[in-house]
């Protein structure tokens, strides 16, 4: 295990900077520039995980974000731990710890591995089938499944890192910094487009940066040499922003993209502190150039998943970029020329290549000749039929392929090897393209799905657009750039290309074995352990839609979304069902392209910033008074003010008595306030409220009820006429924004002829409501020169006055039934107003009360709260508020609906009072009401909407909606609860001071 496979120095690896890290508890060394995967491979560690269903040993398969197997838990047991991280994307740093997932007790000895031998019992759809079998079986499976399922562990303590969001606007966004992305970005920026280039890796250049096939030349240089110079030049270009370690997760309509920029994941713990870890970039681009490249496909053959079996391109990258040999006895298995490039890359570094198995009959390209000259054995028209080695590949057996590719013949040859590179061709990474809502087309020659559409807002260039060879790439890129940027010339016009042409292709989605399919394990989706067998079983069982097969077999449903095997799955389905791949279509690629952390999604909106909240200008006074707060909409409202360890009930009883016996004060600043002006203001109010407004005198207040067009109560509040053409409307706290929106809607769309202007002034005023028999005396102390007599300042009227130098608007209105004043001042004087009232009220033991007491006091009076006693199905008639519905007005919002046959039914739910026979029992709000106890099932007549113990009446009171309740006064009903039935009597909803005598007390 300690064998060092570092074979050559690489400019991307800093060998002077040795880094130690732990994997599964054991310490290893790597160098600055290594990924966890490359460092493990350099230490000859291939076995890194167990598969999800069968717990088969799995090794590192790729070198990028498409990795299905090497999924690890980073820094386990710490508050920075992160599950499901691809080892191929983790840059190592001093102190990094990682561990395998989905194995117990260890990756070397995993009890779940028994599933592999039980696999005949885990066919496709196993999980679904367990639901269908006798119900009692599920409990047995559940225990088993819950213990073996699940990838990784989420952290248990809060995340110590900071996350951020940023909006970015640019002319051109280029996604992917391979050769196409770099050239696209360079030309866009040079032509004065504000350009952003994003790349998920930490280095620019993509795969071309280690492309050393001597037969491919750009301007007489190897592609890698040439591209390095181009990258150097990017530094001097204006208008160009470059973000590395930045992965585009989602591509939405109208060129809106989300990307995750990784800022500190590659740093040591001590360097992470107080820095932003990841940033979500919200990018709005005028034009998007997708240069996301292509992913190499594996080949699907029996036991194709052993540790040591990797993508051919990954082996090349580990050798060229990281200077790591993935094995000491290497074999390649291919259907195209790219494996020959990988083989030569190893050969040139003195790494042993045993053989190349090629399913084609021959290839005449220069690179193939070179391999022959190097003396590497090539097996043409051969396929691998099996592999051996449990925790690490140790041999393969090959046989001759039949002409039609469906069977194998001849004798079996065994080749000993410890690493197998598979090359099944290239799949364009079209994920982001399809996320943007556009369609794919199937290219029969290249056997790939390609973007079907290049527009003036978006193009796909390079291999994600279906161009795999450098000459094709440059030629098509040049034309596409000219089209999208609307330019006549580019840097690319003068480029000279030499290319080694590949001339033979052979594509077989499922390679045959000498054993029947049922006895083999050709994996299609490595992460979810779906094999070609499972897909064929699903088809036999009648599944046809690709979306159904996907869900039934779980193919493509892992955290990698099946980036490697999706095309094979489609190919196998098409071949088996006898349809064309183009007709089959693909499954939907959904965001995110690679997983995002919750932190990145939430950004700064954590803790107290999780949700917006609003505080009133008097908030400090309530905090000083030790109020408990409740959330009403976004507002933090004082709920009650407990003193000396009072419970909520005790506090509310005390506050309620004080308000009726002497004086109380409530912070009413949260009520919505809309300033209404214009020559048609009165007419406007006539149309939006159910009652009449034209005759309201200046300086008078009126309660109004607002309906929806369907006749249901929408909002209520008091509106005051300040002048001939000037009103101020109050709304409920929660309804303020919606009421304003609704009024604007009618004004702008139905009645544009009305001269009315609406302004929200909720935040501009602070409101204290003084209430109780001593409220008048207190107000007199504050404003001695204001005549408070009933003649000058009667109930439902308004005065302007000054408290010292502070201007205020005072309404004599009441929501408690007591003599009350609502005093409004400019918001910044709110605290001052509150303090003045408290000071002046001291001799009357003025008691601040919260929303709970306010609710209790109004319930004693039978006043409704919209949203508590109504639920969008109550008309004013249902609420027994016929008195407020004008019969004379020709029209108002909702009027016609009050005369629909349904709204005129006598047996609708109507608002009533309820009194419990035992005055000490307080009903539960929401409790159901019935008329029969001995009947089952029994009709629910309605439910309790508001319920309190009234300290002023010394008994329990409740409001309820009851079917036909209006005619039930005095009737006995029941409220059945879990362990008792409560006897109640229907009553008039006004419990206290029915004659309203206290208003003028």
């Amino acid at each position: 295990m300690t064998k060092n496979l570092r074979v050559k120095s690489s400019e991307y690896i800093d060998e002077t900077n040795r880094i130690s890290f732990k994997f599964n508890g054991k310490t290893y060394h790597g160098f600055k520039g290594d990924t966890l995967a490359s460092a493990l491979l350099a230490n000859n560690v291939h076995l890194v995980g167990r598969s999800f269903k069968y717990h088969r040993p799995r090794g590192i398969m790729t070198s990028g974000s498409e990795e299905p197997n090497a999924i690890v838990q980073i820094n386990p047991g710490t508050n920075r731990t992160e599950p499901n991280v691809r080892a191929t994307e983790v840059e190592i740093y001093e102190g990094l710890e990682a561990s395998s997932q989905n194995c117990w007790p260890s990756v070397e000895f995993d009890i779940g591995g028994i599933n592999n031998f039980l696999s005949p019992f885990f066919p496709a759809g196993f999980y679904y089938k367990t639901f269908m079998w006798p119900a009692s079986f599920w409990e047995k499976y559940e225990f088993f499944i819950r213990h073996s399922a699940g990838l990784g562990k989420s952290p248990t303590s809060s995340d110590p890192d900071i996350y951020d969001h940023r909006n970015i606007h640019c002319d051109v966004l280029v996604v992917g910094a391979g050769i196409s992305g770099i050239l696209a970005a360079k030309n866009a920026a040079k032509n004065n487009f504000k350009t952003l280039l994003v790349e998920e890796k930490n280095e620019l250049g993509g795969s071309t940066i280690f492309e050393n096939n001597e037969f491919n030349k750009i301007n007489n240089k190897t592609p890698s040499e040439w591209l390095k110079k181009e990258i150097e030049e990017l530094k001097n270009i204006k208008n160009l922003g470059i973000k590395t370690r930045t992965s585009v997760a989602a591509y939405h309509q109208y060129n809106y993209l989300l990307a995750r920029e990784n800022l500190t994941d590659h740093l040591e713990a001590k360097d992470k502190t107080n820095k932003i870890r990841q940033r979500l970039l919200k990018i709005r681009a005028k034009k998007v150039i997708l240069a996301t490249g292509a992913l190499e496909r594996p080949l699907i053959f029996n036991n194709n998943d052993r540790p040591g079996i990797m993508l051919s391109s990954a082996i090349k990258k580990y050798s060229e970029f990281y200077g790591v040999a993935c094995g000491s006895k290497n074999v390649f298995f291919t259907n195209n020329d790219s494996a020959y490039e990988s083989a030569m890359s190893l050969y040139n570094k003195g790494i042993n290549v045993e053989a190349i198995i090629d399913i084609r009959e021959q290839s005449e390209s220069k690179i193939v000749k070179k391999v022959k000259e190097a003396g590497i054995k090539i097996y043409w028209s051969h396929s691998i039929v099996d592999t051996t080695g449990y925790k690490r590949l140790n041999s393969i057996s090959i046989m001759k392929l039949s002409n039609d590719g469906t069977s194998v013949t001849g004798s079996k040859i065994s080749i000993s090897c410890d690493c197998l590179g598979v090359a099944g061709g290239w799949t364009p990474a079209v994920h982001l393209y399809t996320q943007s809502g556009r369609k794919l087309k199937f290219d029969d020659e290249k056997k790939v799905f390609l973007p079907n559409q290049n527009t003036s807002e978006q193009i796909s260039v390079g291999s994600c657009g279906g161009d795999f060879k450098i000459d094709e790439i440059i030629k098509n890129l040049n034309q596409k750039l000219k089209d999208i940027l609307n330019i006549n010339e580019t840097d690319l016009d003068s480029i000279k290309i030499e290319i080694d042409h590949e001339n033979s292709k052979r594509n077989i989605w499922l390679l045959p074995s000498d054993k029947p399919l049922g006895k083999t394990k050709p994996f299609v989706d490595y992460q979810n352990d779906a094999t070609a067998k499972d897909i064929k079983l699903a088809l036999r069982e009648g599944f046809r839609s690709i979306e159904h097969v996907k869900r039934y077999t779980t193919t493509g449903m892992g955290t990698d979304q099946g980036k490697l095997g999706n095309m094979h799955a489609l190919g196998i389905i098409a071949d088996t069902a006898g349809v064309k791949m183009g007709e089959l279509g693909t499954t939907t690629f959904r965001p995110p392209y690679t997983p995002l952390t919750f932190g990145t999604i939430v950004g700064r909106n954590v803790g107290k910033f999780f949700d917006i909240f609003r505080r009133t200008p008097m908030n400090d006074c309530h905090v000083e008074n030790k109020a408990e707060f409740e959330n009403v909409g976004q507002w933090k409202r004082a709920w009650y003010y407990p003193i000396k360890g009072e419970t909520m009930h005790q506090a509310v009883q005390r506050e309620s008595k004080a308000a009726r016996e002497s004086a109380g004060i409530l912070d009413a600043s949260t009520l919505g306030k809309i300033d209404i002006q214009g020559s048609d203001a009165s007419e406007f109010l006539n149309r939006v409220y159910t009652n009449a407004w034209s005759k309201l005198a200046i300086g008078k207040c009126r309660y109004g009820l607002m309906l929806n067009e369907d006749g249901m109560v929408y909002d209520d509040g008091v509106t005051t006429r300040l002048g001939e053409n000037h009103y101020i409307m109050t709304t409920t706290t929660g309804g303020a924004a919606n009421v304003l929106g609704k009024l604007e809607d009618y004004l702008q769309t139905e009645w544009p002829e009305l001269d009315v202007y609406l302004t929200s002034v909720t935040d501009h005023y602070a409101t204290a409501s003084l209430c109780g028999p001593n409220s008048k005396k207190i107000l007199k102390k504050i404003i001695p020169d204001l005549d408070l007599s009933d003649e000058n300042f009667p109930h439902m009227s308004f005065k302007e006055a000054n408290i010292g130098s502070i201007q205020c608007r005072i309404m004599r209105i009441s929501f408690t039934g007591e003599h009350s004043y609502e005093i409004n001042v400019q918001a910044s004087y709110g605290k001052d107003l509150w303090k003045k009232c408290m000071e002046a009220g001291q001799e009357f033991k003025i008691t601040p009360y919260g929303t709970e007491t306010m609710h209790l006091l109004r319930a004693e009076k039978g006043f409704i709260i919209v949203g508590q006693d109504t639920d969008g199905t109550m008309t004013p008639i249902d609420l027994q508020m016929d008195w407020i519905v004008s019969k004379k007005k020709y029209d108002f919002i909702g009027k016609r609906s009050l005369y629909r046959s349904d709204t005129m039914r006598e047996d609708r739910k109507q608002l009533v009072g309820l009194l419990t026979d035992d005055p000490n029992i307080v009903l539960e709000e929401g409790a159901q009401i019935v008329s029969e106890l001995n009947q089952s099932p029994v009709e629910m007549l309605g439910h309790v909407t508001s319920s309190y113990f009234s300290p002023n009446l010394k008994k329990s009171i409740a409001l309820a909606v009851v079917r036909g309740g209006k005619d039930m006064i005095g009737k006995k009903l029941f409220v059945p609860m879990e362990n008792k039935n409560i006897n109640v009597t229907v009553a008039n909803p006004v419990f206290y001071d029915e004659k309203n005598e206290r208003l003028n007390a």
Partner: protein, 91 residues
Amino acid sequence: MFLINCPYCGERDQQEFKAGGEAHIVRPKQPTELSDDEWAEYLFMRKNIKGVQFERWNHVHGCRKWFNMVRDTSNDEIKAIYKMGEKPPSQ
């Protein structure tokens, strides 16, 4: 996330807007003259088209103005935007 060209403010992100249902449904001038069925037609019946649809939108976190939009609901392409009271563009 659409980019919506408010006729009063210019291009803004969709999150500043609120959709307001089908456009060009005029509130009857004389509701009391209508039968229950006719009133219900106005009140409840809305189209839900796959394809080109005329909609009301409100720049609720901006200028608060209502306007009309023609949108293809199958691909969310916004075909036209015009002010309240203006004639809808012909197909």
